[in-house]
């Protein structure tokens, strides 16, 4: 008897996560994510609580399946979608307190809403992590994107985005989607100059 191998979406979709220190084009297929939205400065109380809620849900769903002997998988990396500017006046940067974001963890397609609800109910019943109820299952279809690996502090991601923008323009493309970051390093201990982040910008023809 063989048990099916553990699914690792990051490995399975390697091409979508390919990122070098220079911008390149990738095509990202529609994918399923656990998602939680919020507002405020990164590292603020809401942000911290919601990162916790997202992980609590991801591990509760995974472990419940594992206990039931269902297909096992690796919990994905933390990702984030960010809106920094006022959508009505895109030139105006918002103060940190008004930054809006959606935190994501990519999840296999076979995870369905009922498992999500079951997990949220289990966590809430134990009186843990009230934000768990806000986690949703969403599909994100980004299509053609410019992508690169940013190495260094988060404060300097703007420099990478500027490179990506120039690259896109050179190809007759414009950034048109929501800024997307995929966190490969753990900022709790990794020195900021070594932090690795995949930066993804959906693009479209000018």
């Amino acid at each position: 008897m063989t048990t099916p191998a553990k699914i690792d979406l990051f490995q399975l979709h390697k091409a979508e996560y390919a990122a070098a220190r220079k911008p390149a084009l990738v095509t990202v297929n529609p994918a399923s994510y656990l998602a939680i939205a919020g507002q405020g400065a990164p590292g603020g109380p809401e942000f911290t609580a919601k990162v916790g809620a997202l992980y609590a849900m991801a591990y509760t769903i995974k472990m419940t399946r594992k206990f039931a002997g269902q297909q096992d998988y690796v919990v994905g990396k933390l990702e984030g979608l960010w809106w920094l500017a006022d959508p009505r006046r895109p030139q105006v940067a918002l103060p940190r307190e008004q930054w809006r974001w959606t935190l994501l963890i990519r999840t296999p397609d076979f995870i369905q809403t009922d498992e999500l609800c079951q997990a949220a109910a289990a966590i809430l019943k134990k009186g843990k992590t009230p934000e768990a109820g806000e986690v949703k299952l969403e599909i994100l279809a980004e299509g053609l994107c410019v992508q690169m690996l940013h190495v260094g502090p988060y404060e300097r991601i703007a420099e990478s985005v500027a490179l990506m923008q120039t690259f896109a323009e050179g190809k007759g493309l414009v950034l048109h989607g929501v800024h997307h970051e995929i966190y490969l390093s753990d900022p709790r201990r990794v020195p900021t100059e070594r932090l690795k982040t995949i930066v993804r910008e959906p693009v479209t023809k000018r």
Partner: protein, 384 residues
């Protein structure tokens, strides 16, 4: 610990607080936007319910250990008459370790148990081995074996004793085992070594301690701190309540126990956003035989947790801990322990407590490359 393979199936990745930068349009990037990154002070992590009982069977070194005045210049951190604290210095550590080294030289043929040697130096038997290795650069067993082989080399050159008798004297039961060890150390089989015309010599041990008959060992060298500077902080931890499953067996297999514990906890909704994943290490894998190593896979819980089946409950004692982060694969944890015990501790002015060390796993070994794994090592300190 030389734990290999993976540890927790899940991780306290919930402590991951990446900042993020975002924008609605590219135009938002026209302005540099300062963004300080997320503080990592997880004071929340450190809060735990009040203690209940400490589960475990640790030998406290104390009574009967303190030698009388004048004995090898032994001093221990103690409350001085005026109520101020006396710090344990590197010199104290060295003096205590020197007594062990002298004893080994003088009693090379005795069965030298770790417990006995630890007692001589007034170290907790639980931690002695690591301090020894960290200070001397070799384990107690390696040290004893090396000295016995050095003595054997001298016998081969200077006496008429048969090789097999020299082997027996060195504690080997067979000619083959002796030859293998001897060759590994001196580069030649014992019989070749004996007939070789070159003078007796061997490479210098980092500690400078070699087999020496007659003259009493006066000093030794400790391994100097080198390489990347070790970042150690002293944290006061509250007592931490955990649910745990005990693993008895090789460290390399602790993942099996995590694989049982986490689904059971997860399906009950007990893996919350602030759950910590802790490995409580009751034994040193370099000392305890693999099949006897006790390790508790622990998950933080609140007071409402009820033990069930194989899952027990215990409280990790609060108090001061020396904490350092190990970067990289779990099978290299032993190197960080050795550095912490042998290089940092003797220079810290502190002594270790006798409760177990524990490890906090900061990321998920399933989705993290071994080189990127982060583990905080907590070493208990004696109250002063």
């Amino acid at each position: 610990l030389s734990g290999k393979g993976y540890r927790p199936d899940g991780s306290s990745a919930s402590y991951l607080h990446p900042g993020g930068v975002g924008h609605g349009t590219a135009a938002a990037f026209d302005k540099p936007f300062g963004r300080d990154f997320v503080g990592l002070q997880n004071s929340k992590n450190n809060q735990a319910p009040s203690p209940v009982i400490w589960y475990g069977d640790y030998v406290l070194v104390g009574a009967g250990c303190e030698p009388g005045p004048g004995k090898a210049g032994f001093r221990q951190a103690a409350r001085a008459g005026d109520g101020t604290m006396k710090t344990v210095t590197l010199k104290d550590y060295k003096e205590r370790m020197l007594r062990v080294l002298v004893h080994i030289q003088q009693r090379l043929d005795d069965p030298l148990t770790l417990a006995k040697l630890a007692r001589l130096a007034c170290f907790s038997p639980y931690h002695f081995h690591r301090i020894f290795k960290g200070m001397l650069g070799e384990s107690v067993q390696e040290h004893i074996r090396r000295l016995r082989l050095e003595r054997a080399a001298i016998q081969l050159k200077l006496s008429e004793a048969s090789v097999i008798n020299v082997a027996f004297d060195a504690g080997y039961e067979t000619h083959e085992a002796f030859t293998r060890s001897f060759k590994a150390m001196f580069g030649l089989a014992p019989s070749r070594f004996r007939s070789d015309q070159r003078p007796l010599r061997w490479s210098r041990a980092p500690s400078g301690v070699h087999y020496h008959r007659g003259k009493k060992l006066q000093h030794f060298k400790t391994i100097q701190p080198g390489g990347v500077k070790m970042n150690v902080t002293i944290k006061t931890m509250p007592a931490t309540r955990v649910a745990f499953m005990r693993h008895v067996g090789p460290y390399a297999e602790v993942g099996v126990t995590w694989d049982k514990l986490l689904p059971l906890m997860g399906k009950e909704g007990l893996l919350g956003g602030d759950t910590m994943f802790i490995g409580l290490c009751h034994d040193d894998p370099e000392v305890t035989p693999p099949d006897k190593i006790r390790y508790d896979a622990c998950v933080t819980v609140d007071e409402s947790f009820v033990p069930q089946g194989d899952i027990g409950r215990q409280v990790i004692p609060g108090g001061e801990y020396a904490v350092t982060t190990h970067f990289g694969p779990y099978n290299k944890l032993g190197e960080t322990y050795a550095k912490l015990f042998g290089q940092w501790l003797p220079r810290s002015g502190r002594e270790m407590g006798s409760t177990p060390c524990f490890e906090v796993y900061l990321n998920d070994p399933q989705s993290t490359a071994p080189a990127d794994l982060l583990t905080d090592i907590y070493v208990p300190l004696k109250t002063r």
